[in-house]
């Protein structure tokens, strides 16, 4: 409960500071938009000029859908990116102050989980409208299309929320790695980049080689970007939302359980080491 209240405070503070530092917010959004635009151009080039220009459609994803997908990744990046870590938590781990957190009457894993979610919601809420608007107002073929249907929108929104939880659980594992202060930073970074790659932030998973599709669909991180966005662009029917949620929930349970246990182990390890 106190974790939730603390998270609400964090969210509010984030909103205030983001609005206050308007230049930073604008710069962040411009960078996002630039990044999205470049990726859109790259993917468009292949769809239009590639030797097998129908290779995308045959994989079940049309050019229009792919472009929308790329934009949506940029819209959601502040919410779902695996590589954004909370500086305060990092600093606590680095300085060994996590030991002090143990004195507080709350579960550290739950606390960090809630904090991670809160620090992502703030920037997202401020970015979502401008970036979506810019992406939708661009001329064809660069623009982000509206959702395939109202059902597609609603089902993808529910899946995005689950995606956020999945993302927080994945980032929680990254924090656990970081708690191995002696060597954890390198493996942690590799892990977070891996989250981004396998969640479809680099390329829609449908455009990966055909032989890898079954694996890609069923690995833990597909539920972060890829599956919710398939619902939005319409490569998955809204009626399949239950299957998507089932995959997400299954992995969420696994990641939370593993993360929670691993954090307990890492904490005792830290205490023994003297922080």
């Amino acid at each position: 409960m106190s974790s939730l209240r603390a998270s609400w405070g964090i969210l509010r503070m984030q909103l205030v500071s983001k609005v206050q530092y308007r230049a930073a917010a604008w710069a962040g959004m411009t960078t996002n938009a630039f990044w999205g635009f470049v990726h859109v151009i790259i993917i468009l080039t292949f769809y239009r000029f590639g030797q097998q220009s129908n290779a995308g459609t045959s994989a079940g994803m049309s050019m229009v859908q792919a472009v929308s997908y790329v934009w949506l990744v940029q819209v959601l990046i502040t919410l779902l990116s695996g590589t954004i870590l909370d500086n305060e938590i990092r600093e606590k781990i680095r300085s060994g102050d996590v030991g002090l957190e143990l004195c507080r009457p709350l579960d550290l894993y739950a606390h960090w989980f809630a904090r991670t979610a809160a620090t992502r919601l703030g920037p997202f809420l401020l970015n979502v409208v401008p970036i979506t608007a810019v992406a939708m107002l661009l001329p064809e073929p660069y623009r982000l299309q509206p959702p395939a249907s109202l059902a597609a929108l609603l089902s993808s929104m529910v899946a995005v929320m689950m995606g956020l939880l999945l993302c927080c659980a994945s980032v929680g594992m990254a924090y656990v790695l970081l708690m191995r202060v002696q060597w954890g930073e390198g493996p942690m970074s590799i892990f977070t980049v891996l989250i981004d790659i396998l969640s479809g932030a680099y390329l829609p998973l449908q455009l990966w080689p055909g032989w890898a599709q079954r694996f890609l669909m069923l690995q833990p991180f597909a539920g972060i970007y890829d599956l919710p966005l398939r619902l939005y662009v319409g490569t998955l029917a809204p009626s399949t939302v239950w299957q998507v949620l089932l995959i997400q929930a299954g992995w969420l349970v696994v990641l939370v359980a593993v993360g929670w246990l691993a954090m307990r182990r890492a904490l005792t390890h830290m205490v023994i080491q003297g922080g």
């Binding site: 710069a27 151009i41 790259i42 060597w183 970074s189």
Partner: protein, 262 residues
Amino acid sequence: MNDFMLYTRYLRINFLAGLQYKGWPMQILMVLFIVVTDPLGVVLLFSRFGSIGEWSVERTMLVYGIALTAFGLAELFSRGYDAFPWQIRTGAFDRMLLRPRSTIVQVLGMRFHLHRLSRVAGGSCIIWWSLARQGVSLGLLGLVQLLFALVGGYLVYTGVFIASSAVAFWTIEALNWVYIFTNGSYQVTKCPPQLLPGWLRNSFTFFMPMFVFSYYPAAAICGWGEVPVGLGWLALPAGAAFIAVAFALWRVGVRFYASTGS
């Protein structure tokens, strides 16, 4: 002791400091992983869609590899300027002003991490791979041209770092912008330059001359015949001009700092 020697001493002490952290081999692996996986998306696209006209994956990767290696060199040897904007509020620049040396050498020497070598190594491998796959043998002239391209690129990226550090004297709020010209810039090379929108191609040719040190030399070395071969030699002068402008901005920033403090 002259400034260059002093710079090497700075590198030495930072190198020694880096070795104190036991996780440094892991850090090297980490950057290598990031470098290797960054072009994953475009490589997968090539494998699904095939080449884009003349532009095969090898050709694209050569331009990308040159830009990446140049950026890696700047990160390796000019990392101090890259990190400077985030140091300024800590009073780090005050300390530099208190030392009887050029502030430029001091900022350059402020940071040096061995694991930044990974990007240079990864980029060089990409260049080597794509040249080998295209069956291009460099020859002395080509090698010189390639080296000039990398040095020119190094100057340009260092110039970007210096310019952003100069802006940091006024504000660090909007500094996210700089990603467009650092990590963002070489993303642009994943697409054949002719197929880019004109304003984007021109920005990265005339404003920040990224294509001048990556695409032009690559085309000249491999004889793609898309641009005049002479343009392949422009990398070094373009880099020098770019960094000169950046330095001028830096000077103005230093003067502004002296009148306002941190």
